[in-house]
Symmetry: C2
């Protein structure tokens, strides 16, 4: 562990061991702790710190306080052909998410396409994780979750929609193309980071106190009136994803989840398609390569970096963080290392 | 037919008969003509004129010039369990779209979830049509199409992405909730209408000649540099939808479709889920009703109309147009009525 000003560098195996120790202390079985720790570490390695190391203390608090049941096992509620409904029994979101992804792949292997709908689960952390997992095994993956209400409909002032992340993934070049998009244009977390640097967002992302569209993150954080991605389009998509997750899983809606200020009891959908079962399987890699090559030939405007496909920058973070270690805010890592011996510090970690 | 200044009012049955007569003249069988005419009319009744009556002359030109084969029949290429690949054989997009939707529903009835991927088809007109069709029969529907390149990636200046409409639908209250969203923030057609009225768009929708974001539709029409819905998010989603439609159908990509300035030979995906096969089928209507009721309780900001769910305004247009007749631009209806006797006027209709 090498220290810089306010950041420490943590190697992936060290991080994973630390997470695992804490989870065992919080009551996870050794194998559940290991799998959960692996997911939080992978998300951090991939540069998605908000749903990796930075989020781990909140996850630990949810476990300690009983909102996340450490060793709950999902139970099958209903099945017909390629579709199954599972109850997550309030278990750890990442463990339930892996269970659902793997069962969707099992169904796809049998039926070509499979769908698992999951009720009563918890925050799955990074949506993209499940996309990477399925895509690297040769599957198309389409999945989404609902969330607590955190965004108004377009034209409304009160938050009744979740930002309901959607993921779509497919295999590519021994790795994957993974789109992982929340339905708000920016997350509160992303805006906080830009506000701390006293910078403006590159595009409008919410409303100020006078109801005007603005790219000033501090003004938006003051109203919490985020805009949906693509305005009315992201609002509509958010609503439909919530509706589908609820009717397919028989789980709770964003409205129901939002009744208390703790985000738990979510509804999720996991769809997998087994590409090896299709007649054109052998030509797919070349087809994808052609599309990506054309996309990369896009002419960047003056201010732009290279045009990247969804997942491309994740791959860059992964390579860098595996080679150099994972940069972690010192105060976050101090808290986490303290957790190994003293979980009472979780009292300081907010629920939302 | 009642005439106002530049608009005529056409009753739905009159419109459908007229379309059908023209299609028979262009070589469609009576039953194919009738089904195709029914779809163009339904899209017009629903207020989606751009993919109904206004688009009909272009469709007719594609048929006359051989890009759309009037009586092509889709052929099954590959199947495994709940997934099938069909070749559309360059038939009429709406007929192929209905064929694919109905087969996806057949597969869902057998396997719970079904997927039809369709290659070598043509413009399906309104994406939402297939969503309404499946949802009204009790299915969840998720489908999308690729298109000719008409939008740059975010940060790029040259159009290499399609606007690739995505539809998600489910049954609701004897009708449906149908999200039908293209991946550009606005279509060129919508911007042309606002520009004709010398108005500004409510939000930024593209770049002017100096590379600045603007809500001036004339400035954007001059550059044709549209923005993706949600900037980088809609760009990523567009790319992924193209990739998935290509690998799932073994069809052509946006890049390949865009080699000539005629939009044909598209790739599409149709996924259906049979809700009657799920354990919670009897409680779904109430679950949806609760979510919509909460959504409708959104507090509108000062300038906003009622907050509507996806498909709600379509229902309003449908009721109005069925009661009062369909308003059609006089010059469009004059062209269409002329087509009944003289298809040479199609020479005036542009391909794009």
């Amino acid at each position: 562990m090498e220290e810089t000003t306010s950041t420490v560098i943590v190697q992936a195996d060290e991080m994973q061991d630390c997470f695992s120790n804490i989870l065992i202390k919080l009551g996870f079985t050794e194998s559940n702790a290991k799998q959960c720790a692996e997911i939080f570490t992978a998300n951090s390695v991939d540069g998605v710190y908000t749903h990796g190391v930075n989020r781990f203390p909140r996850f630990a608090r949810y476990v300690r306080d009983g909102y996340v049941k450490a060793n709950a096992v999902p139970s099958l509620q209903s099945k017909f052909g390629g579709i199954e409904q599972w109850d997550g029994n309030m278990g750890a979101g990442p463990l339930n998410g892996v269970h659902a992804t793997d069962n969707a792949m099992r169904l796809a292997t049998e039926y070509g396409i499979g769908c698992v709908a999951l009720s009563n689960t918890n925050h799955w952390m990074r949506a993209g994780y499940y996309g990477w997992r399925a895509a690297k095994k040769g599957f198309v993956f389409i999945g989404w979750t609902n969330t607590i209400a955190n965004m108004p409909a377009w034209g409304a002032t009160d938050a009744r929609l979740g930002n309901n992340p959607l993921v779509m993934a497919m295999p590519y070049n021994y790795e994957a193309i993974v789109l992982d998009m929340a339905m708000s244009q920016y997350s509160l977390g992303a805006m906080e980071q830009v506000a701390m640097r006293n910078e403006m967002l590159p595009v409008n992302a919410g409303f100020d106190k006078d109801g005007k569209l603005t790219n000033d993150p501090s003004a938006i954080l003051a109203t919490r009136r985020l805009i949906p991605t693509g305005y009315w389009k992201g609002a509509g998509l958010s609503l439909v994803l919530d509706l589908l997750s609820v009717i397919l899983s028989n789980g709770l809606s964003t409205q129901e989840i939002s009744k208390i200020p703790v985000e738990y009891g979510l509804s999720q959908v996991f769809i997998a398609i087994d590409l090896s079962k299709l007649g054109n399987h052998s030509s797919m890699a070349a087809a994808i390569e052609n599309i990506i090559a054309d996309y990369h030939r896009s002419i960047p405007d003056g201010g732009s970096q290279k045009i990247t496909y969804p997942g491309e920058r994740v791959m860059q973070s992964r390579k860098k963080n595996l080679a150099n270690g994972i940069p972690v805010m010192k105060k976050v890592w101090d808290l986490i290392t303290t957790l190994q011996t003293d979980t009472s510090v979780l009292d300081r970690v907010p629920y939302i």
